[in-house]
Amino acid sequence: MLTLDSVSFQYGHRHALRAITASSDAQKVVALVGRNGSGKSTLLRLIAGLAVPTSGSLRWRGSVLSALAPARRALEVAYVAQRPSLSIDLMAREMISLGRFASRSRLDGAVRIDRAIEQMGLEGLRDRAFHELSAGEQQRCVVARALAQHETNGLLALDEPFSNLDPGELVRVFTVIRQRAKEGALVVIALHDLSFVDQVADTVWWLEHGSALAMGAPSDVLTTARLKEIFKCDFVRGPQGLTIEIRL
């Protein structure tokens, strides 16, 4: 279980997060939504244990992740950064195999890497240089690396992992992530596509200016009135789910 108890974070004097209190059980997909600069990426870094809250506490299964040594923490949480490093001279398979660094003594590493490659549809690209791949292919490689790292019942913290994917690849990648949640993982994922969030998330945490604006099921949080108030545009909730209404 992930618990956040009045978590705040500051960059110097600037408050990035203010007193966030939330919790989620495993086997869920939690979507972090909010406008640009609302604090989603900062919260994901805190959840991944890469930064320490200025105040409050954040625990995963009772442990403070930021207090663990990186090698120990990597067994608990896999993280995909919003802007991963793209200029790496490794081959795609070598890049994905970095996910096994913390567990490199285990014998099932090659199997896990091949499985992640297959799940992300990267079989034909494994011997291509990572920096030569398209943006979408690089993004799938980075997600595959997180999947190779991720233990079945661990935490997956993903910062906009679908931003460069075409619809077919988006469905493929999300299907795998959803399957990981079913197998016991907790997935916390920052997303901008609210229609997609409405369809796939179990829980939505909405951040506004670093504070929690609303938390709950997508249909309760993503109301058309609230969306219009925040984004100043119209949304319609119909049989197809939530859609944005564009009037030209």
């Binding site: 923490r73 950064a81 200029s87």
Partner: protein, 365 residues
């Protein structure tokens, strides 16, 4: 004989550690390493065969008499150890700073090491009989390697701080800061030398050009071999972590690498290697920059192979350069080794500078 024993010890340690890493190496890596070993052996043979006839003058190709062979073997030992140290130091700096332009010479570590060693010698000379025993051990015991390491690490910390823009390391600012700090260190070395009695100054001009001594100090050679062996073992042990460290800080930490520990340990190794090579041969330009790039071209980007390959490439480059310069008579004697390595390394640096960026604008390393 002691030097030969040292060389054997280093070779054995290198081979043992390499054997351990070979299990995780690909076929390409093994072929590449074999190629580099052949290149080193060819360079050693060339250096032993090419020389200047001290009696008749002119270039002498062929197996020399025993007295000359000893001198050439001394030069081979110096160039092997200094070149390998520079190659490994350059690789560590390029990997840790994620900067393909980094090297101990370009970032000013070599100049910092020279300043540390020169300043220590000056303090020792000035204090004369009043010098404390610890001071004697620090300066004489390790033949300047200890104060040199302090100098090179001091420069590294300074350049690292100056190279940050907006909280991130900027590759070009880092290189610029290194160049300026190296120039400042060079000026300080001249200043310190002018404060010393003429007899203690040594041949500063030749030292600045870099030189491969034919009769290296046994103490310096032994210290350099020990430094190289320890740094090599630490680098081999950290090779997988270096692959991970080529990603961003957040990614590397989330994948399980403690960047702080890795950087402290391997920056100390890089600084000490630079210091040992300076103590042995003076500041030699571009070997530490070129060697990791040769290794990458031959073997790819994985550090399991790059660590031994950069060491071998550095040794091969310096021994070959020393062999080639024997056959270049500039009228006033042989071409200084530092001039030759700069003539080879400078254009390669410019090529990397022009082509090292990826589509995203980041530098590939």
């Amino acid at each position: 004989m002691t030097s030969m024993t040292n060389m054997t010890t280093m070779t054995t340690m290198t081979t043992m550690t390499t054997m351990t890493t070979m299990t995780s190496m690909s076929k390409r890596s093994i072929i590449g390493i074999a190629l580099l070993v052949a290149l080193v052996l060819a360079a050693v043979i060339a250096r032993l065969l090419i020389g200047r006839d001290p009696i008749a003058g002119g270039i002498n190709f062929g197996w020399p008499v025993a007295e000359i062979l000893v001198l050439r073997f001394g030069a081979v030992q110096s160039a092997l150890v200094a070149g390998a140290s520079l190659g490994l130091s350059g690789l560590l700096l390029q990997a840790l700073l994620r900067n393909p332009l980094a090297s101990p010479f370009i970032l000013g570590l070599s100049a910092g090491a020279g300043l540390g060693a020169t300043a220590a010698l000056w303090i020792l000379t000035a204090s004369g009989a009043a010098a404390a025993p610890w001071m004697l051990i620090a300066v004489r015991g390790a033949d300047g390697v200890i104060p040199g390491t302090i100098g090179s690490l001091g420069v590294l910390i300074l350049v690292y701080a100056l190279g940050r823009r907006g909280g991130r390391l900027d590759p070009l600012t880092l290189v610029l800061a290194g160049t300026v700090v190296a120039t400042l260190c060079g000026a300080c070395i001249l200043l310190v030398q002018s404060l010393m009695p003429p007899a203690s100054r040594g041949d500063s001009w030749m030292w600045f050009m870099g030189q491969v001594p034919e009769m290296p100090s046994r103490g310096t050679l032994f210290t350099a071999i020990m430094v190289l062996s320890i740094a090599f073992a630490a680098s081999v042990r950290s090779a997988a972590a270096l692959d991970v460290a080529s990603t961003s800080d957040d990614e590397a930490e989330s994948l399980g690498v403690s960047l702080r520990t890795l950087r402290v340990m391997l920056f100390v190794c890089a600084g000490t290697l630079a210091s040992a090579s300076v103590a042995l041969c003076g500041p030699i330009a571009f070997v530490g920059f070129v060697a990791p790039h040769i290794a990458r071209v031959v073997l790819g980007a994985r550090h399991t192979a790059l660590v031994p390959a950069s060491l071998l490439a550095g040794a091969a480059v310096l021994v070959w350069a020393d062999a080639i310069r024997q056959s270049i008579d500039i009228g006033a004697g042989r071409l200084p080794i530092g001039v030759l390595t700069a003539l080879i390394g400078g254009p390669i640096f410019l090529i990397v500078l022009r082509s090292g960026r990826s589509r995203s604008g980041e530098w590939r390393c």
